[in-house]
Symmetry: C2
Subunit: 249 residues, 2 copies
């Protein structure tokens, strides 16, 4: 099995990736069709709200969405590009930009919601979500699953413009870079990049029993392979694949 590890090279991409991870958790628990889903759902939801509270996040995303629309306009000038695909992509970017632009304070409604507010306060206490700490949660949990799914989907909708935008931006970042084969010598691989790096992706076969730790900045990165069992550096020569997403010019 191939595992992909990702390393963000700046704070903005780091946030995008974290939000993507947490949003996937929210989705995973939002159908309330397994025991314990409710609590896991609320925890991830509050984590997502917290990550989205960063002051510059919304304007970062809006700027990125605009930049991509500019990029699409450039691509249009090339004959070799499928114009229909570009149309579809442009429509996506425009729609997301509009949705996010019209939402001046994303997640604000969730922050003022009485029920969510009570939960959020208590959930920082270890085990602080039992039926004496949060009787209203106990009541809520006992509702039919479809009502809970319905309500959860309303809450998620509040954050969707941000989440959907970040997902599309990360997809673009990943898909516009190519995979190349490399070799880690003595469990180590190093590279220097002239153009600033934004996202580094490393693909390693799981059967090697290693995972990468990466130290990196915009112009240089070093990958050390760690043996999962021993927790120590693995000194073998091992093949890996790399994908480098560069900063916009």
């Amino acid at each position: 099995m191939l595992l992909v590890y990702e390393q963000p090279l700046n704070e903005k991409i780091r946030n995008y990736l974290r939000i993507e991870t947490v949003a996937a958790q929210v989705d995973a628990h939002s159908q309330f069709n397994h025991p314990g889903a409710e609590l896991a759902f609320f925890r991830s939801l509050f984590e997502l709200i917290e990550l989205m509270e960063r002051a510059d996040l919304r304007s970062d995303i809006l700027k990125d969405l605009e930049r991509h629309q500019g990029q699409i306009a450039l691509w249009r000038q090339s004959d070799s590009v499928d114009q229909t695909q570009l149309d579809a992509l442009e429509t996506q970017f425009k729609a997301l930009h509009q949705r996010l632009h019209s939402q001046s304070r994303p997640g604000q409604q969730l922050k003022t919601d009485r029920f969510l507010g009570a939960l959020r306060q208590r959930m920082n206490i270890p085990g602080g979500y039992g039926n004496f700490d949060l009787p209203q949660l106990h009541y809520w949990q006992a509702q039919p699953a479809d009502e809970k799914v319905q309500e959860a989907s309303q809450w998620r909708k509040e954050l969707a413009p941000m989440v959907d935008s970040i997902r599309l931006l990360l997809t673009m970042l990943r898909e516009t870079a190519r995979w190349g084969d490399q070799m880690a010598m003595n469990g180590c691989y190093q590279e220097t990049c002239e153009q600033g790096l934004e996202l580094l992706r490393v693909q390693i076969k799981q059967e090697y029993g290693v995972y990468p730790t990466i130290s990196a900045h915009r112009h240089r990165f070093t990958i050390h392979l760690i043996n999962y069992e021993s927790g120590k550096a693995d000194n073998r020569n091992l093949p890996l694949r790399l994908s480098l997403s560069m900063e916009p010019k």
Copy 2:
């Protein structure tokens, strides 16, 4: 549907209930058969470890287990009691006491585990469990489910003597009290108890659309019914059932 709400009247029972709640979460996510289970499992596990770090918890439980064994000896003197049932119960208490007694520092191995240690540190950061924050978790998650279940069961075993003891103690506390019918007048019910109260349980039909908030100390408690939809006091006269578990004499 009948919903049961519980109110602990002292710090010890409060801890027992929280541990029971968190342990149920750990169990719910320990089969790794739904997406997002891994993270929810580790979060609950670390929460459980934290709750169990209280200095006096182990000795409280040991004392309670001993007290129950004394109680069983007293019950034996009564002819009306099924001696075979008492034997079975006594065996349970003895076995738990022995397991917990032989474990001088429950959960210690989990605290020194390298993998768990790295996870625990990172998980307090919102979204701090993506594949760049915790590549070893990414590696771990990709293992076959049965290997993960196996490893998780080893970790849970470390905490089992405490968890199983608390579960039995709470079962005894609940089952030795009887349910009685009462009426909340104007959405309020109050009672004074001469013998100190340890655990109060309130049963309310969900269709009334209310949940209780309880203010209580050992000798007196007040239940206020809150309307779930409005979040405000509900002034109807409503039937409820109460079960009062008293402190040991």
